[in-house]
Subunit: 213 residues, 2 copies
C-alpha cells in the first residue's frame, strides 16, 4: 500500500453529499484551478467534450438558484456551483470544429483526420434523436472527475440531479442555445451544523456489486 | 499549489485512452484493491448504486471479448477489463433492499427510512421507461472515479463505449438478468509500441468550455 493508495482511499471515505454548506467559506484560486483542470482534462467519447461547464459564483445569481433547484439551498450557500450542460446534438459542424482543434494542437493537416470525422459523424447519425442522451451520459464522467478531485483536496461537494432545467437554463443564458443543463455540483465547505457529515457511508457489500470472471 | 494539486494535474495530463496494452503486465493486488475501492465508493443518485461491475481477468474469457467489442483488442490484452452493467429498473423491491442496507449500516430501524423510500420510488415512477437510461448515466460516475484513480496510480486505461451489449451480456451471464452492460474500461499498462501515447492531448480552450457567471 503506497502513500497514494491510502490517500485516495481516505479521500473517498471522507467525501459525502454535503447537505449544508458554510456560506462564508470560499475555495482558493489554486484549488479552484485544480478542480477546473479536472473538468477540462476529463475523458469523453472520442474526446468530443460535448459540454459546457457553467460556474456560478455571483452572489446575486446564486440567490436565485434554490427556486429552480426544488428549494435546495446548496447552490446558494456553496462557494462554486458547477452546472454540466450537454450539447443537444453532435452535428457535422461541431465535429468539424473538433477536428480543427486536433489539427491545431497536433500540427497535422485537418485532411488527415477525415477517417475520424467520418467515424464520429456515422456514430452520431446512428444515435439520431439519442444524441442529447449520449452527451448527457458523457457529462457524468467529468462529474466523477470533479468529485474525486474535490475529495482529494478536501473540498466538499454535493452532486445534484435535482435541477429544474427548463427554469435554470434561462438564468444561465442557455435557453435557445445548443446546450441544456443535465446535472450540477455544489462545491465548497460543509457547514459545522451539517448532520449528514456524521452519517456512516452506505454501500452494498463488495460481493453484491463486484462480479469477478 | 500544494503537492497534491500538482500530483493531480500531472496524473490527468499523463493519462490517455490506451489503444494497445502490454499483455504481459498485470495490475498488482494492492493497486487493484484501490481501483475497486474507487468503484465501490463512487457517488450515485440517492446512493442507490444501480449497477454491477463485472471484472474480467480470465484469459479464456478475455480471448472472446474482441469479437463482441467491434474487434478492439484492449479487452483481451489488458490486465483487468471492467464492464459497467446498469440495473434495468429501479423497482420498489430494489429500493427496499437499499433501505435495509442503510438500516443495517447506520443501525436505524428501516421504518425510519420510509420518507426516503417514498421519495426514491416516486422519482423512479416518474422516470417510467427511462429508468435504464437514468441508471446508465449513473454508471459514468464510477467510470470517472476509476479513470482518475487509475491515472493517479499510473495505471493505463481505455474507456470503451464500443461494446456490443447484446453479444457481450451472454458471455458475462447477464442475459435475462436485471442488468445490462452500458460501458466498459480496460485497465493495465500501455504497450511500448502504442503510438497513441505520443499524441498531444486535445482539449478545447478553457474559455470555450468554461462559462463563469
Amino acid at each position: 500500500m503506497t502513500d497514494l493508495n491510502s490517500q485516495l482511499h481516505d479521500a473517498l471515505q471522507w467525501r459525502y453529499a454535503t447537505k449544508q454548506f458554510d456560506p462564508f467559506r470560499t475555495i482558493s484560486a489554486a484549488d479552484w484551478n485544480s478542480l477546473q483542470q479536472a473538468l477540462l482534462l476529463s475523458h469523453s467519447s472520442y474526446g468530443l467534450q460535448p459540454w459546457k461547464f457553467i460556474v456560478v459564483t455571483d452572489p446575486a445569481l446564486k440567490q436565485q438558484l434554490p427556486a429552480v433547484c426544488w428549494g435546495q439551498t446548496q447552490p446558494r450557500d456553496c462557494s462554486h456551483f458547477v452546472v454540466f450542460a450537454a450539447r443537444r446534438t453532435v452535428d457535422p459542424q461541431f465535429v468539424q470544429q473538433y477536428l480543427q482543434r486536433i489539427a491545431q494542437v497536433r500540427s497535422v493537416p485537418v485532411t488527415a483526420l477525415e477517417g475520424l470525422g467520418t467515424a464520429i459523424n456515422s456514430k452520431a447519425s446512428r444515435m439520431g434523436s439519442e444524441q442529447l442522451a449520449w452527451n448527457s451520459r458523457q457529462c457524468y464522467i467529468p462529474l466523477g472527475f470533479l468529485l474525486q478531485a474535490a475529495a482529494l483536496l478536501r473540498i466538499d461537494a454535493c452532486p445534484m440531479e435535482g435541477i429544474q432545467s427548463d427554469r435554470l437554463d434561462p438564468l444561465l443564458n442557455l435557453a435557445g442555445s445548443d446546450f441544456t443543463s443535465v446535472v450540477a455540483c455544489a462545491l465548497g465547505y460543509r457547514h459545522a451544523a451539517d448532520r449528514a457529515a456524521l452519517d456512516a457511508k452506505v454501500r452494498f457489500a463488495a460481493e453484491d456489486v463486484i462480479v469477478s470472471l
